[in-house]
Point group: C2
Chain length 198, copies 2
């Protein structure tokens, strides 16, 4: 079938987005056709407007619409504890957990020699400056628990050591609600190794 050119162009753009396959792209295109022009305009405007409005926080490199991101700008957050993450997208889930009331520092990636990313490509120097200049008592390393995240955390910890602050790593163990029968052996091994007194 000859697909209508304007629809094909939209399908091509939609299929570049994460988790959007051909079927989802088609569903979205038909939804747009079945709805009013205003809906299409609002969607299109929101895409470009977000792209134009958002840059990086000058202090922590989280996404920000102003000089500081909402977390850094909040007077209720403690500047004594910094949580180091690899990407801005790691921050919303930590915020939703409600378990962290300090500030963040976004590295902008992880050390990955295969991808040509070295420690000098990440915001590690800025982290050390923040810890040196500020009144930082603890840095929590919250990079992913995979090899690259672990190596990055280890390297950042080494570089922070001379600053004298406490350096911690988020815990490994069984997820909440996790079933022992279905846990992978590495997770279960960590859960046993780091067992807590109750």
């Amino acid at each position: 079938m000859h697909m209508l050119p304007s629809m094909q162009r939209l399908l091509d753009e939609l299929e570049r987005l994460p988790k959007i396959g051909p079927k989802s792209a088609q569903d979205i295109a038909y939804w747009i056709l079945n709805n009013d022009r205003e809906s299409a305009e609002r969607l299109a405007h929101a895409v470009v407007d977000m792209k134009d409005s958002i840059g990086f926080c000058k202090q922590c490199f989280n996404y920000a619409e102003d000089d500081l991101c909402p977390v850094c700008a909040s007077p209720s957050r403690s500047s004594a504890v910094l949580c180091v993450v690899s990407d801005p997208s790691d921050i919303p889930p930590i915020e939703r957990s409600g378990a962290f009331t300090g500030l963040y520092h976004v590295l902008g990636g992880v050390i990955s020699p295969l991808d040509g990313v070295g420690e000098e490509d990440l915001h590690i120097a800025e982290l050390i400056d923040r810890v040196r200049e500020g009144n930082v008592a603890e840095v929590v390393l919250a990079t992913d628990l995979n090899p690259e995240g672990n190596i990055t955390a280890a390297r950042v910890a080494d570089l922070l050591r001379p600053c004298g602050c406490s350096i911690t790593r988020i815990a490994t163990g069984m997820p909440k609600g996790g079933e022992v029968e279905f846990a992978d052996e590495l997770t279960l091994g960590a859960a046993l190794e780091y067992r807590n007194a109750i």
Copy 2:
């Protein structure tokens, strides 16, 4: 967490789309932030451009950028057989099957008293006109195989009866590759009732 307003607006618009939940919307928003401005512009432009470019085919009520949709405009399609579907989105899968070389007629919905849709709200009168005026030998009713689709097909068949053309319904039976053990009883009942000599 205070979500950035421009990102929240995009998330709200994205979550209105079919099959896009909060997590997918966030993934898409971060993808847009991580890519160049041109990608965001191309996506936004494709949305509005498709909405502005596409209307309905004057002959069959499929989506069309010109007076006629690509199927109606194709000289290689037979006008002797019409396939009746409820919506334009039913046409691409039939085209992909490669099993139909005639023209379509889109009803624009199904008869559904609960939703206030009667036969006068569908393009049934236009279908009868097409069959009367044209050289139509057969009308294949390809509405969904659910109660509303079946009732609509039955009513359209009744209204077409005086035209004298052949009226058929797409077959019911086991899907290709289907396993008898896991088939639902209604499908299996139909597969037995409509069994074919081999």
